[in-house]
């Protein structure tokens, strides 16, 4: 996975925005959500715990870690919500 060839967009919310940023682009065609989680945690060790506690969503629907992500899809990681 090369971050330079930005194709898959990964968007973050809450504390993950402090730890990683609002979004990153990954050349991660046909990777599973689990592989993307591991890649992000390796590149952002301080975010590893928050990533592990976060739900993964594609198209505003929760996806499991074995879901493979297409290059043109947008993956989102949502930490547990704070409530209002």
């Amino acid at each position: 996975m090369q971050d330079e060839e930005a194709r898959l967009k990964v968007v973050f919310y809450g504390r993950l925005t402090d730890l990683i940023g609002r979004e990153v682009g990954l050349d991660a065609a046909d990777c599973s959500v689990a592989e993307i989680r591991r890649h992000l945690a390796a590149n952002h060790p301080a975010a590893a715990e928050a990533l592990a506690r976060s739900r993964a969503l594609i198209g505003s629907a929760v996806v499991e870690d074995d879901r493979r992500v297409g290059a043109e899809e947008e993956l989102e990681f949502l930490p547990p919500v704070s409530g209002g």
């Binding site: 919310y13 809450g14 504390r15 402090d18 505003s60 930490p79 704070s82």
Partner: protein
């Protein structure tokens, strides 16, 4: 019956929201409203300048609507109104307005109590206190969860 569930990025004017609810509630016998304010102090006693509410472009508004609709279905109310801020809310300013009207007062009291208990735990926001101490992300407290769980 009307249900308003609005995500407000700029200014929340509780007087205006109450006036609109009052206008809608003609024929009802009761209006209950709640205004939540951004607290100027953290749980640890540090001064807080502002709350920053990060939100999701679709799921946040959807969560407000789901909670308002569930409230309208559960209680004998005529109108339900939820307006919630996102973005930066300076300490002391309104962060949420929750209101309901009904023929008799008990339903409106219960409806607003229910709205707030669910909003405090389930609304899709990520809150951060900005101020004296290092910026801190907030999660629901066990008391918030216990309050929500009263409703089954």
């Amino acid at each position: 019956m009307s249900i308003v569930a609005h995500l407000e990025p700029d200014v929340l004017d509780p007087q205006l929201e109450l006036a609109e609810l009052t206008e809608q509630a003609r024929g009802d016998g009761a209006i209950v409203s709640f205004i939540g304010l951004a607290r100027p102090e953290s749980k640890d006693g540090d001064a807080v300048d502002a709350l920053v509410l990060d939100h999701h472009p679709t799921l946040t508004r959807q969560s407000l609507e789901d909670i308002a609709v569930a409230c309208a279905q559960r209680f004998d109310v005529s109108h339900v109104r939820v307006v919630h801020r996102c973005g930066m809310v300076p300490a002391g300013e309104p962060i949420v307005f929750a209101g309901a009207s009904s023929l008799h007062r008990r339903a409106a009291f219960d409806a607003v109590d229910y709205l707030m208990d669910r909003l405090k735990t389930e609304a899709v926001f990520w809150k951060r206190e900005v101020g004296e101490a290092e910026a801190k992300w907030i999660e629901p407290t066990p008391a918030d969860v216990a309050d929500r769980d009263r409703w089954g």
